[in-house]
Every structure is written in C-alpha cells, then in structure tokens.
C-alpha cells in the first residue's frame, strides 16, 4: 500500500503578504526572494523530505512576474525543477492561468 504523504500548506496572503512585490529583497519589502528564503527553502533543505507543499495563491492584490519567477523559478534553480514540480501544488480559484504561469517559470528556470 502506498504511503500517504504529508501536506504542508502555505497561504501567501495570510502567511506572507497581500502585497507581494518584486524580485529581490533590495528592491523593497515582500519580494520573491524573501518569500523563497523564508517560506519555501526550509521545506527543501532536507533532501529526504518528500511531503507536499500546497501553496494558496488567492487573496493578494496581484503578482508581478518578477516575484513569481524569483520565488518559484529561483527555487527550482537551487533544488532542481523536477523536485519542485513533484512537491509543489498550486491552488488559485481567482486566476486559473496563474498556476500554468508558475509551472512555466519552473520549467524554464535554467534556460540559457
């Protein structure tokens, strides 16, 4: 019987901010880099960890491409896109295209 995997939920609006901003921390508060370092990377530091990370995207003012790319594309550049795609699950009722967009940033994270 397949082992049931644990799920960790991150609600960006509630846990991080309703006003996510740009790419780097030096750009201003609530950047993609800040979100990646504080909320995503701790779940990836243990190479054996394989629980799901459910990310709820709704409830914010909006997302700039630079925020999404640095948070999720940046994560994939560090821990590998396959690992990120396997473990991250995105939920958005307000904007269904957003999930596709993020997946694309992960897929294309290291295109030279």
């Amino acid at each position: 019987m397949e082992e049931e995997r644990e799920i960790v939920q991150i609600n960006i609006a509630k846990d991080f901010s309703t006003i996510p901003s740009s790419r780097y921390e030096k750009d201003g508060p609530f950047s993609g880099e800040e979100f990646r370092i504080k909320y995503l990377e701790p779940h990836f530091k243990d190479p054996k960890a394989n629980y799901f990370i459910k990310i709820i995207l709704d409830g914010v003012e909006g997302y700039a491409t630079s925020f999404l790319e640095e948070a999720f594309g940046g994560l994939a550049r560090i821990y590998g896109k396959q690992r990120c795609l396997e473990r991250l699950e995105f939920i958005s009722i307000e904007d269904r295209l957003l999930v596709e967009e993020i997946r694309q940033y992960i897929e294309e994270c290291d295109v030279e």
Binding site: R23, G73, V111
Partner: protein, 347 residues
C-alpha cells in the same frame, strides 16, 4: 624682621612692572584690532565682488512654458522646452519658469517637471529655479490637486485636495502599499466591488517600479533612479488615467542589443521605437543575459492585449509607442526624453 614683599621698594617695583604689562597688552590689542578691522574690511570687499560675479554669472533666465503643457499631446515642443531648461542648468544659471500663459496641462508634464527638478537638484546640485503659476484656473487646479506643491517650495496657500486625483507619490523602492492605494482610489471612482476586475493594475505598477529599480542605477553618480505615480479620474468617460514616470536611463538604453543592432547602431543609429516595440513583444532583451529575466514589459503588453487596460502610451528616450489590442503605433521623437513614461486607462 620686615618681609621683602612688604617693603616700599618692592611695592614700587611691582607697580611699575604691572603698568608695563598693561601697556604691552593694550598695545598688542590695538595692533590685533587694527589688523582684524583691516581684514574684515578686505574680506567684505572680496565677498561682495564674488557675490556680484556670481549674480552676473547666475543672471536670471526666463523660459516660457508651452501653452499646451503636456508631454503626451505636445511631445516635441515640451521636450525642446525641457532641453532649454537642462542647458541653462548645466550653465548654472538662475532659471525662472514662466507658466503664466499655459492654457492646457496634463499630469504627465507635471511628473516630468518634478523629475527634471529632482535630477538637476540632486544630481547636478543646481538649486536656482523659481516660477509662477498659470493664469488658467483649470491648470492652477490641476497643479494644486495633483499634490505638485508638496514636492516644491511654495509660499502660497495649499488647499486640501478634493480627492479627484490620486496625488503624486514618489519613491525609489518597490512599494506594493502604494500600488494598493491607487487601486483603491480607482475602485472607488469606478464603483467596482470585485477586485478581480483590476487584477492587472497591481502587477503593472510593480513591474514599472521594479524596472526603475533594476535598470536605472547610475554607477557614475552612485544614485538610484526615482519613480513618480499619479492617477486621475475622468468624469466624461468614467475612467481612471494612470501615469507612471521614472528618471532612469530609459528602455532603449537599458535593454540588450543584438550584435547586428550594435553594428547598425554604430553606423546608422538604431531607432528607439523599434527597441521598445521588440521589448514589449517579448524578444530576448534583458541585459542580465538570463532568459528567465525580462518578462515585465511583455506582461504589461499582455494586459493591453487582453483588454484589462487601454490607451497605453510609452515614451522613453527618443521613442513614442502607443499600444492597442492588436497593433502598435510608433513615432521617433525629435528631442530626447529622459527616463520612461507609461500611461494607460481603465474603465
């Protein structure tokens, strides 16, 4: 036995000695005072002549503002006017902005004026600009309502804004809070309860602020560019007009050029409109060299294409681009625009 210092001889000797010392001190004091009087007088003369030289050098130059004080509607005349201003700033002249005959004014011109003042004051250290207000009441009202006087020295009475305009905000960093505030302003005027209808505005504003931050760092002056934002409600067609301006190097100067373009640029010159258009269309233009970067401008264009915003105009360096759903109109400008201006409408 009588002590020596109590004897008459000692007392006389001591008195003469004190008199000599007092005389010597008075003499020295007189010399010093004469010297300092002379020095003061000479210094005063030098200072006055220097000041007179400076006054001559900084003779007040009056530059007349175009009657149509609008970057988007009267681009070339306005840029020529600001070129004159820049020329006199470089010569360290005292400048007087004569705006008395301005009959029409748009908020983009106000932002550009503030951006030029900021550049000349903070970067070039020039502080000799003064001016008058337009005689036209509508223009006066626009200057007051836009919050222009909060950013310059103004001795008149500043009336409390009526709230028709989201007054000018300026910063150097990316601030989601400011973007949220301007969206709230737009929602109020457009009677929108569902925030999803304005979802595109927030990312556009963040992209604009981020572009200012990332592509406008001046290594020579060690300064980071600044952005200005204003939004205005239009009663006629129930819309809100957004204007965003940064005083960075401009899109054409900060995007990556292909080797052939560099060569062509060297011999025949590249058209700024073509560079802006291609960046908007999503060609690989980021100067970082990373393919995952440079997605901001194409994303902004996508909001025009999907109808979230309309009438988007971009002016940067010598390029003017008007974006429509399925078309882009371009025009090369006669004079250079310093920075990047983006404006768009939502209704």
């Amino acid at each position: 036995m009588k002590k020596v210092y109590q004897s008459d001889k000692w007392k006389r000797y001591s008195q003469r000695k004190s008199e000599r010392i007092i005389k010597k001190r008075q003499k020295l004091k007189a010399i010093k005072s004469a010297k300092s009087r002379e020095f003061r007088e000479n210094y005063k003369k030098i200072k006055i002549s220097k000041y007179q030289d400076q006054r001559k050098k900084r003779k007040k130059i009056t530059i007349k503002a175009p009657s149509n004080f609008s970057i988007v509607n009267n681009t070339n005349e306005m840029l020529s006017f600001f070129n004159d201003y820049y020329h006199y700033v470089r010569e360290d002249k005292r400048i007087f902005f004569d705006m008395s005959e301005v009959l029409e004014m748009t908020e983009d011109a106000i932002l550009y004026m503030l951006s030029r003042f900021n550049y000349s004051e903070k970067i070039l250290g020039h502080q000799y600009v003064s001016g008058n207000v337009p005689s036209n009441l509508k223009c006066q009202e626009l200057l007051m309502e836009s919050g222009f006087y909060d950013h310059v020295h103004y001795s008149g009475n500043i009336e409390a804004p009526s709230g028709k305009i989201f007054s000018i905000k300026t910063k150097q960093l990316v601030y989601g809070e400011t973007a949220k505030e301007v969206i709230e302003f737009a929602k109020n005027y457009l009677n929108i309860n569902n925030g999803n209808q304005l979802k595109g505005i927030y990312p556009i504003l963040i992209e604009c602020m981020a572009n200012t931050r990332n592509h406008a760092y001046d290594r020579l002056t060690n300064t980071i560019a600044r952005w200005w934002l204003v939004a205005m409600h239009n009663e006629k067609d129930i819309s809100v007009h957004f204007t965003f301006l940064d005083n960075g190097f401009g899109i054409p100067r900060t995007i990556r050029k292909k080797p052939l373009e560099k060569l062509a640029g060297f011999f025949i010159g590249l058209k700024d409109t073509e560079l802006i258009s291609s960046a908007l269309e999503g060609e690989f233009r980021t100067k970082t060299g990373f393919k995952w970067r440079g997605k901001g401008l194409p994303k902004i264009r996508s909001y025009v294409v999907n109808g979230a915003i309309k009438n988007m105009q971009i002016i940067s360096n010598s390029g003017y681009v008007f974006c429509e759903k399925d078309d882009m109109q371009t025009q090369e400008l006669e004079n250079r625009f310093y920075g990047t201006l983006l404006s768009w409408d939502i209704s």
